[in-house]
């Protein structure tokens, strides 16, 4: 056991995976000598050498396309995109190629690839550094999508993603990188893909969140508890495939739900969660499911970040509105 923040947990997981399987390699811009712009790969170049911790040219489609080839040839590449906002350049490779290697070849070839990228508001970075694009990946058959919120899950889900035989998009919470420490087991363990977790039990309303928004939701739950409102907080952890049972189970219990995400509201993942509730728990609903999300504008310049991002206060208001519907 060690006390690690989320970034250190990722670094630890990378080291464990690379030590355990010499097919695993890490590639991306500035991941080697520099240890990644956030130091996620700190120390790995010295440990595993330049053939396995690879500084690439500045070309996201090139990173993704060559990573696909490496995976298909039998290696286990982990491709880092420096910020998720720069993944659009690689969409043709990731959304149409990686996702379909197994399918196009009817199982003959596969693409065991992990794509890592930080996303979300958090470091007052210039535009495009904070974009939350998870809905695009979730809408793409053939991909899996993971978005841990805690150091423990970060390590366990990353190790599970690396072991997975299919391409996994692994999204890291920029604002959660160094937000707090937690006990993380040494060595290898996995957290299963496709399973959400109840991070706080409650009875009156379910708040559904992932990644950095889990912490924000928990903060809202604290405020509400002081007011006597019992909030259940569900951390989805895996965004594709979604854990339908966990969502439906919790909403059938509480009868009310609020979905929280950073991305723009319209056609965001919140909509799919509402659709799942519509499909399986409509008769249990006491009020419309509320969405506390980013607005339908680009994730704004640093000065306006705080006005854009869901806050505990906005969640509290949404919960109250839901309760008094």
């Amino acid at each position: 056991m060690a006390s690690l923040n989320l970034l250190e947990a990722i670094n630890d997981a990378l080291g464990v995976a690379m030590a355990g399987d010499d097919r695993v390699l890490l590639m991306g811009e500035d991941v080697g000598r520099n240890g990644g712009v956030f130091r996620a790969s700190n120390g790995l170049l010295d440990r595993f050498g330049a053939d396995r911790v690879i500084d690439t040219p500045l070309a996201e489609a090139g990173i993704m396309g060559t990573a696909i080839g490496l995976a298909t040839y039998g290696l286990r590449p982990i491709a880092e995109i420096q910020f998720l906002g720069f993944s659009y350049q690689a969409f043709a490779q990731l959304l149409l190629q990686a996702s379909r290697m197994r399918w196009r070849s009817a199982g003959r070839f596969t693409c065991p690839l992990v794509v890592r990228a930080p996303f979300g508001i958090g470091v007052k970075a210039p535009e495009s550094h904070s974009d939350a694009l998870e809905a695009h990946f979730v809408h793409t058959p053939g991909l899996k999508v993971v978005a841990p919120a805690t150091p423990y899950d970060a390590k366990g889900l990353l190790l599970a993603a690396i072991e997975d035989p299919d391409p996994v998009v692994y999204l890291e919470p920029l604002r959660g990188y160094r937000l707090g420490r937690a006990q993380v087991p040494d060595g290898s363990y996995t957290v299963p893909l496709g399973k959400a977790t109840v991070v706080r039990q409650g009875t009156q309303v379910t708040v559904i969140a992932w990644s950095a928004m889990v912490g924000t939701s928990l903060a809202a739950a604290d405020i509400l508890e002081a007011d006597g409102v019992s909030v259940e907080v569900l951390d989805l952890r895996t965004l594709s495939p979604l854990d339908v049972d966990a969502i439906v189970g919790s909403v059938q219990k509480t009868g009310r739900a609020v979905v929280v995400h950073e991305a723009a509201r319209t056609a965001g993942l919140g909509a799919e969660i509402i659709a799942i509730i519509n499909d399986h728990a409509l008769l249990w609903l006491e009020a419309p499911v509320a969405r506390v999300t980013g607005y339908d504008v680009p994730i704004p310049q640093p000065m306006l970040e705080d006005a854009y991002i869901p806050t505990p206060e906005r969640i509290v208001r949404a919960v109250r509105a839901t309760l008094s519907f």
Binding site: G62, G65, L70, T72, A92, S105, A106, T110, P165
Partner: protein
């Protein structure tokens, strides 16, 4: 063979009339030359047959190779079994020469979902529809070979139109930086659908683009199968021995339409087509040489044609007879293990299929 910097002339072994080019020795073993010829005749015959199959409505579309047989056969023959090939809708012939069962080509153009399942040991990726996307993948596979110490190589096949895509550029740049054992085979057939080479890029040649990546670039007469074979053999050997990637520009011509949906008379000058068809045909060129070298005659031609016709007929029959799979097969290779929500969707499609087949009511 010559790198671009040594000579700007297309490399040619046989002149258009089948006589050896000046200062060139032909020292390939006769059996290899005969193989080249047989494969080209197969390619032409198969292509004709698939064109008419499409016209009869048995294929949903088809992209003919006619005119480009020499470079594709040369490429296929230069590949070793443990080399990998990645190509497009038009590169079926090269893939077949490299070991892909021929019936997979018509099966693909029938729209069959299992058409691209290569047999074990055949290292041919599914034909790529999205222009240039296979190129970085090829570099990745080659990189994998280098990292694993394999002594093999990869060929990425594409048209001159593909060189305009960013994917080509990023891939070639990675290949240069990481010195991966890859050969970029650009079949410059003059046209990208209706866009002529002159409007595709202002560069002097395609081969010269290699300079942008610090890799070797060569031009070859892609209608000269011996020259094509030599160029590919040379480039693949360089790759296998760690000397680096090569961009091979094969000058060739598409004699048919872009695909069966295309009408080239809308954009392509008739005289241009006629010149290529009548004076630069790759198949006739080698035949003329073989005949002059005493390696070929009408009797052998007749027997080859019979063989090839039989093989083509048999192949087409296999492809056409292959039954349609049940519709739920669309789910079967999305993931190693189907997620629960997809299980339910799969059942829906299965029931729908049985309903349509009259096996289920409602």
């Amino acid at each position: 063979m010559t790198t671009l910097l040594e000579s700007k002339l297309p490399v040619r072994v046989l002149d258009v009339d089948g006589t050896p080019a000046v200062n060139v020795e032909i020292d390939e073993p006769p059996e290899l030359l005969l193989d080249m010829y047989r494969w080209m005749v197969f390619g032409r015959t198969f292509d004709n047959r698939l064109m008419s199959l499409q016209r009869q409505g048995r294929l949903s579309t088809y992209a003919p190779v006619a005119g480009q047989e020499a470079i594709q056969v040369g490429c296929g023959l230069a590949l070793n079994d443990d080399d990998w090939a990645l190509g497009t809708y038009r590169d079926g012939l090269a893939c077949i020469v490299h070991g892909m069962p021929a019936e997979q080509l018509p099966l693909y153009f029938r729209g069959h979902p299992l058409a691209c399942r290569m047999p074990p040991g055949v290292n041919v990726l599914p034909e790529q529809i999205c222009i240039a996307e296979q190129i970085p993948q090829a570099v990745g596979i080659a990189w994998g070979m280098r990292l694993r110490g394999a002594k093999s190589a990869v060929v990425a096949m594409f048209g001159e139109g593909a060189t305009s895509e960013g994917a080509f550029h990023e891939a070639a740049n990675f290949a240069g930086v990481f010195n991966t054992p890859v050969v970029f085979l650009c079949q410059n057939n003059g046209w990208a659908i209706s866009t002529p080479r002159s409007r595709q890029t202002a560069s002097e040649s395609i081969a010269i683009k290699a300079a942008a990546y610090g890799i070797a670039g060569i031009q070859v007469d892609g209608n000269d199968v011996i020259a094509s074979y030599r160029a590919m053999h040379h480039a693949l050997e360089r790759a296998r021995s760690g000397e680096g990637p090569t961009l091979v520009e094969a000058l060739t011509y598409r004699l048919g339409p872009h695909t069966t949906s295309d009408d080239p008379t809308r954009y392509r000058p008739n005289e241009e087509l006629a010149a290529w068809r009548d004076t630069r045909d790759p198949v006739g060129r080698l035949r003329a040489y073989l005949e002059r070298a005493g390696l070929w005659d009408d009797a052998r031609q007749a027997s080859l044609e019979e063989d090839v016709n039989n093989r083509v007929a048999q192949t087409v029959r296999t492809a056409i007879d292959e039954p349609e799979p049940p519709p739920e097969v669309m789910f079967d290779y999305t993931y190693a293990v189907l997620p629960p929500a997809l299980e339910a969707q799969r059942r829906e499609v299965q029931e729908d299929g049985r309903r349509k087949a009259g096996k289920l009511h409602g």
